[in-house]
């Protein structure tokens, strides 16, 4: 099992075009399907309303981390919080990073989402609080074992 999600996608558009689609809040909203209240600013919370039919009740929220022009755009969020009955704010957010690299035909976009193994801050149990992550490498071994066991 992977602890980090990574996607690589080749886009036939210049880096500047992709950068705009990622960081202009209106353009981001077009493809991400969220109606944002205002522009992305590093260090600030961005908020909006999901525009996907059936999920309009869901508020989209992220804290913008880095905006290094045409190179790196990142935010932290609680991924795909679609269940209104769950208080996601108590969970540790994951980090989403979009990295851009120019290629001969356009742009290579590398998306990563990491931090799924982080401990929620509200855990009262000391045992949980002392965790230091570190299961990433060994998860692969487990997967093989579990496949045998199930």
């Amino acid at each position: 099992m992977e602890n980090t999600i990574e996607k690589r996608i080749e886009l036939k558009a210049p880096v500047s075009r992709v950068w705009r689609a990622l960081t202009d809040y209106k353009e981001f909203g077009e493809w991400f399907r969220v109606k944002l209240e205002g522009p992305f600013i590093a260090g600030q919370t961005a908020r909006g309303q999901i525009t996907w039919p059936g999920y309009e009740h869901v508020v989209w929220q992220a804290v913008i981390q880095k905006m290094e022009p045409e190179r790196l755009f990142s935010f932290t969020w609680h991924p795909y919080t679609v269940d209104p009955g769950v208080d996601y704010s108590k969970e540790t957010p994951t980090l989403v990073e979009f990295r851009l690299e120019p290629t001969a035909t356009g742009t290579l976009l590398v998306l990563t989402e990491s931090g799924f193994d982080k401990i929620p801050v509200n855990r009262r149990d000391e045992a949980f609080r002392r965790n230091d992550g570190g299961w990433t490498q060994q998860m692969k071994n487990i997967e093989a074992h579990v496949a045998q066991a199930s």
Binding site: E30, W52, V86, E91, R123, W135
Partner: protein, 115 residues
């Protein structure tokens, strides 16, 4: 992005966070790996060849049991611990769910910028 899934919903928020947290420890991960062979084991067996004390192993097993990764049953005077693959499958389902949402979102981004 937020398409209704044919599969049951992935583990709910706090429950899911607990799963990830329970495995965020080398010792517990090693115990899960060890029990992953499918053989139930006693604390004595798990402590054999380990640098950890029985008390330490017991403590970690209880955390795993609370999170649902292992089940304990009595056999004579011993407690036997066995792996329950359910929670790990839940975690995989969840990561798969998030991964599929990204595939869809990036597909839309591609169409958007290449238009």
């Amino acid at each position: 992005m937020l398409r209704k899934q044919a599969k049951p919903r992935p583990a709910r928020g706090p429950a899911r966070a607990l799963l990830f947290a329970a495995l965020g420890d080398e010792t517990r991960l090693a115990l899960v790996t060890r029990l992953g062979s499918g053989q139930a084991a006693s604390i004595t067996q798990l402590a054999a060849g380990s640098r950890l004390t029985r008390q330490a192993i017991t403590k970690h097993l209880r955390v795993l049991e609370q999170a649902g990764f292992v089940r304990c049953r009595r056999e004579g005077r011993e407690s036997l611990f066995a792996l329950d693959p359910g929670p790990i499958e839940q975690m995989q389902d969840y990561l798969g769910f998030v991964s599929r949402q990204w595939d869809e979102a990036l597909g839309r981004l591609k169409a958007f910028v290449e238009d």
